[in-house]
C-alpha cells in the first residue's frame, strides 16, 4: 500500500460525536479479557455506552455481560456507531455489512480501530452520508478529549486555558 495522506480529525467534532453516541456495535469484540477489543469494550461500557458485541464465534453468549450476535444484521437496533476491530482488508466487508443495514438500524458512524484503514470502504460509507473515522481507538480518543489520557503521560495535543471537562 502506498502511503495515504495522514488523517486529521477535528477535536471539537470528535468530542461532539462521542458525546452524542449512545449505542456502539463492536465488530470483532473478543471474549478474551486480555485482548485490546475487550479492553476497549469494558472501558466504553464503564463510560455509559451500550456496547453490542458482534462475533460469530461467540453468538448467543455474553461478553462482559452483553449478548453477542453473529452479525450486524442479527443485532437489535438502534445502533448509532459501528466500531470495527478487523484487519484493514477485512474491514471493507464489515463496512458493507453495516451499510446494508444502516437505514434499518439507524447507523450514522463507522469507526475503524487504531491501525485499521480502508479508504475505499470509507468513501462508500461517506457517499451514503455516514461519518467515518479510521485508525483511531474510541477508548483512546475518549480518554484524550476528556482529560484522562494525559494521566498516563500521553501527549493529548490539547492546549487550552479553559477548565478540563471530565467525560
Amino acid at each position: 500500500m502506498s502511503n495515504p495522506p495522514a488523517l486529521h480529525y477535528d477535536d471539537a467534532d470528535m468530542a461532539k460525536l462521542l458525546r452524542g453516541v449512545k449505542t456502539i456495535a463492536m465488530v470483532g469484540a473478543s471474549a478474551n479479557w486480555v485482548r485490546p477489543s475487550n479492553f476497549a469494550m469494558k472501558y466504553l461500557l464503564g463510560k455509559g455506552y451500550r456496547v453490542i458485541p458482534i462475533n460469530p464465534g461467540q453468538a448467543g453468549k455474553e461478553i462482559l455481560g452483553q449478548m453477542t450476535y453473529a452479525s450486524l444484521a442479527d443485532a437489535p437496533g438502534p445502533i448509532d456507531m459501528v466500531d470495527i476491530f478487523r484487519a484493514s482488508e477485512a474491514a471493507g466487508k464489515s463496512v458493507d455489512e453495516a451499510l446494508d443495514v444502516a437505514d434499518e438500524k439507524g447507523i450514522q458512524i463507522i469507526w475503524m480501530q487504531l491501525g485499521v484503514r480502508n479508504d475505499e470502504a470509507a468513501a462508500r460509507a461517506e457517499a451514503k452520508g455516514l461519518t467515518v473515522i479510521m485508525d483511531r481507538c474510541p477508548k483512546i480518543e475518549y480518554g484524550r478529549l476528556f482529560g484522562e489520557l494525559g494521566w498516563s503521560g500521553v501527549n493529548s495535543g490539547i492546549i487550552t486555558s479553559k477548565r478540563r471537562k471530565l467525560g
Partner: protein
C-alpha cells in the same frame, strides 16, 4: 467527519507556548490555574470493579503514586509535547529513566551500542552495572556513524547517543545515525539533556526514544532531581521478532501484549506498568512541580545560557593561559557545521577547555574562582565549574579519562545566567592567579 482532504491540519503551537501550557489545564473542580502538588500516595476506588479495571490497565486513572500521580502526569505530558513525542514516563533521575528504558527494551544476553562520548555516569552504568544484569553495551566512536554500523550484530536492540555530548564540544551527525538505526531496524535512543528540547528535538530528525535528566536545564535551578523517557510512537516493534518484550504476552502483567494493546504509547506504558511498578524509581510530586515550574521559563533561559556560554568561550579562546576550547558554537570548532545544522539556536551551555598548566593548574583554578561554583552538576541558573580529573573522573585510568574528554588539563563549565562580564571577570582573576 472531515479529514485532511477537506480540512487543514490542526494549529501547531510553538515551543514557548508548550513550555507553559502543555499538559496543564485549570483544575476541573477548583479552577486552580497552576498545577497543584498532589502530595498523596494513593487514590480511592469507586468500587471493586473500578479497582480491577485500574489494576488491569483497562481504564485510565490513579492507583498509587509509584505508577502515576496527577502532578507527575502534567510534567510527563509537557515533556512529550516539547519533544514532539507521543508519550512520556517520568523517573526519579536521568539514570533511573535510562534503567527503565533498557529494562523495557532488553532481555539478558541482548546488546546495545552506545557512543563513547557520553556523560561519565552513563558510561559506568552501561559498562559495569548493566553488565551484571546481562545487558551488554558496546561503546564506539560515534563521531563516525560507520563505526555504529560496523558494531551492529543480530543481538543489537538499540543505539544510544548524546547528539550534543557531555562534557560538551562534540556533536554527532544525527541524521546519518538515524539512517543506520533504520537500516538495522533498532530504536535510536538520544539523551537530550545537554541540548533540551528547546535547542534540539531529536524526534524531528527520526529518533525513536529521547531521555532527559530533568535535573539539569529543564528543572533549571538546581533544586530537583528527575528524569524522563519519551517515546515517539513511530517505531514498529512488530516489524520483526526482535522485540518480544513489546510484542509477546508479558508474564509480569497477566499476559498483556503491550504494543498491541497500547499501540504508539506501548513502550512508555510498559516502562510504567512493569518498570516503575517492580523497581519503584518514581518521581516525587514535589520534584515534578519544581520541574514543571522550571520548564515554563526554559526557552527564555536557554537563549541566555547559550549567549553567555558563547561569550565565555570566546573570551577563553583568546586567553594566554588557555591551550584549547572545545565549544561547538565557536567558528574554530570542527563541529561548528554540525552545530549550525542541528543546534541553530545555540550549541548549549556546557563545554570544556584546557589549561596550559595541566593537573595542578586545574586544581588551583577551581579553588581560585569566587563566582563560579565548584560542584558536580550542570544546567543550573548559577555558573558551575569542575576539574573532572580530580573529581568525577578520578577513578578512571589516564586512557579512559582522555577517551571521555576528561584529561588532566580539562576544565568543564556549565555557564549560568549571571551578568556576562561578571563571569568573564571571575575566570580572568582566577587564571591570573595561577
Amino acid at each position: 467527519m472531515t479529514n485532511d482532504r477537506k480540512n487543514p491540519a490542526p494549529w501547531e503551537f510553538g515551543p514557548e507556548t508548550k513550555a507553559i501550557h502543555a499538559g496543564s489545564q485549570p483544575d476541573p473542580v477548583t479552577g486552580a490555574r497552576n498545577t497543584p502538588i498532589y502530595q498523596t500516595t494513593s487514590y480511592v476506588f469507586d468500587d471493586v470493579d473500578h479497582a480491577a479495571d485500574l489494576f488491569n490497565l483497562q481504564t485510565f486513572g490513579f492507583i498509587y503514586s509509584r505508577l502515576t500521580n496527577p502532578t507527575v502526569s502534567v510534567l510527563e505530558e509537557r515533556l512529550a509535547s516539547l519533544e514532539n513525542g507521543r508519550a512520556a514516563v517520568a523517573a526519579s533521575s536521568g539514570h533511573a529513566a535510562q534503567f527503565l528504558t533498557f529494562f523495557t527494551l532488553l532481555e539478558p544476553g541482548d546488546e546495545f551500542i552506545a557512543s563513547r562520548n557520553l556523560y561519565g555516569g552513563s558510561i559506568t552504568q552501561f559498562g559495569l552495572s548493566f553488565k551484571r544484569l546481562g545487558w551488554n553495551c558496546n561503546f564506539v566512536d560515534a563521531t563516525d556513524p560507520e563505526n555504529i554500523r560496523a558494531a551492529i550484530t543480530p543481538k543489537t536492540k538499540g543505539i544510544f547517543i548524546e547528539v550534543l555530548a557531555n562534557p560538551g564540544g562534540i556533536i554527532l551527525d544525527l541524521e546519518a545515525i538515524v539512517e543506520v538505526a533504520n537500516e538495522a531496524h533498532v530504536p535510536l535512543i538520544v539523551d537530550n539533556t545537554l541540548a533540551t528540547p528547546y535547542l534540539l528535538r531529536p524526534m524531528d530528525w527520526g529518533a525513536d526514544i529521547v531521555l532527559q535528566s530533568t535535573t539539569k536545564f529543564l528543572s533549571g535551578h538546581g533544586t530537583s532531581l528527575g528524569g524522563a523517557l519519551i517515546e515517539s510512537g513511530k517505531f514498529d516493534w512488530a516489524k520483526d521478532d526482535k522485540f518480544p518484550t513489546m510484542t509477546q504476552p508479558e508474564p509480569a502483567y497477566h499476559g498483556l501484549t503491550f504494543y498491541e494493546t497500547f499501540g504508539d504509547f506501548g513502550f512508555t506504558m510498559k516502562a510504567r506498568a512493569v518498570g516503575l511498578r517492580d523497581f519503584g524509581p518514581c518521581l516525587s510530586p514535589a520534584n515534578a512541580f519544581y520541574t514543571i515550574t522550571g520548564i515554563e521559563s526554559l526557552p527564555a533561559r536557554m537563549d541566555r545560557h547559550v549567549n553567555n556560554a558563547k561569550a565565555v568561550a570566546e573570551f577563553l579562546e583568546g586567553h594566554p593561559k588557555v591551550s584549547w576550547v572545545s565549544y561547538a558554537g565557536l567558528a574554530s570548532s570542527p563541529y561548528n557545521d554540525l552545530a549550525k545544522k542541528y543546534l541553530p539556536k545555540g550549541a548549549g551551555a556546557v563545554f570544556t577547555f584546557g589549561l596550559q598548566g595541566g593537573y595542578e593548574a586545574g586544581v588551583k583554578l577551581v579553588e581560585n574562582v569566587s563566582l563560579f561554583s565548584h560542584l558536580a552538576n550542570i544546567g543550573d541558573t548559577r555558573s558551575l565549574i569542575l576539574h573532572p580529573a580530580s573529581t568525577t573522573h578520578r577513578q578512571l585510568t589516564d586512557e579512559q579519562r582522555d577517551a571521555a574528554g576528561a584529561g588532566e588539563d580539562v576544565i568543564r563549565l556549565s555557564v549560568g545566567l549571571e551578568t556576562t562580564d561578571d563571569l568573564i571577570h571571575d575566570l580572568d582573576q582566577a587564571m591570573n592567579r595561577l
